[in-house]
Amino acid sequence: MENERKLTIARAMAEATAQEMRIDPRVFVMGEDIGELGGVFGNTRGLLEEFGKQRVRDTPISETGFIGAAVGAAQDGMKPVVELMFVDFFGVCFDAIYNLMAKNTYFSGGNFTVPMVLMTSTGGGYSDAGQHSQCLYGSFAHLPGMKVVSPSNAYDAKGLMTAAMRDPNPVIYMYHKGLQGMGWLGTEAGAINHVPEEAYEVEIGKAAIAREGRDVTIVSIAQGVHHGLKAAKTLAEQGISAEVVDLRSLVPLDRETIRASVAKTGRLIVVDEDYHSYGVSGEIIATVTETNLADLKAPPKRIAYPDVPIPFARVMEQYCLPNADKIVMAAREVCQAPIPA
């Protein structure tokens, strides 16, 4: 373990950004409290000190203004990295995000590209109520014109961040607050892993097999991957071998990896901290059933957030969230009750 170099996701994101800023003068960072504070979730720490106020810009609380400005800068040859502090705040700035950022390349017949990264925090579990705790993966992934990624660990966080900054398309970079390594949001030990110092890319649109298994496939993203890994450990003790697929990217979606895994295991459970209906979990299930229905030995299951605004009360919120126990229950069910041939 001589060369071990463990980082939190927060540090991995900041390192990727700093390394890209050193080699590409077009990259700059903008957002609320991303300068002197280093980001509420730690992901821009150290940037202001190294690059100064021209390239690391604290903004007023005006998401419509600064995200709109970033779109203009991107079309004019810059590569902005902007932060929407909580994804829940998307309502005020969605015209800039979805009518400008996502569509201007199309509207201009390809004459403009919009190479920008929109970082935004997702997820709950720490009683911050319904306007600070959503994931909204499906809301963004549903809308064409933007790539959407979300890392589950520091290694992927750095590689996806570098890939996002180098991508000519707008990329929504969603990071789960519970994985940042900021103590007040809880610490997920599995998210802190070895990160090479030199810059590298993790391909956007390529899922990872976080754990191999034979009996059931658990598909998830970000925090849900860790729930899946914990469940897989428990299931292994009960004689059930679970495979965990970490999507890493929702757009593009790596449908091949999902289908190949289900072809092997015959059973599918989707874990999604976003709302149950009309979302990511339904899309993953359709990905399998549309083309590979015969691979399934049991009906697919989803463990997603119930279709209610997120409660503030701790017991109510914890009751609603996906967790390893719910996955274990679902896996036992699908493994013991196969559909008769």
Binding site: M1, E2, E4, K6, L7, T8, G42, G181, M182, G183, W184, G186, T187, A189, I192
Partner: protein, 77 residues
């Protein structure tokens, strides 16, 4: 001889306890003096813990455990 990793008493005012929010080196790993090895937090402010010596890390206070100023959270031997 082992060198203790101690929560410095002058990092913040008052006697509030902190939480070990992240170990950035594993138990049993080799660490170098001056390397960032852990993060601790109190009142939503994080502080860095730097290795006081070169050697093998032994973790005493695990991630998410509470520590007070002056507490030993690990040692390097």
């Amino acid at each position: 001889m082992a060198t203790d990793i101690v929560i410095a008493t002058d990092l913040w005012e008052g006697d509030d306890e902190c939480v070990v929010t992240a170990w950035l080196a594993s138990d049993g790993a080799n660490v170098s003096e001056g390397a960032l090895i852990a993060e601790i937090m109190t009142a939503k402010v994080q502080y860095e813990v730097i290795a006081p010596a070169t050697g093998t890390l032994s973790i005493v206070k695990a991630q998410d455990e509470v520590a007070a100023k002056g507490d030993v959270i690990g040692s390097i031997s």
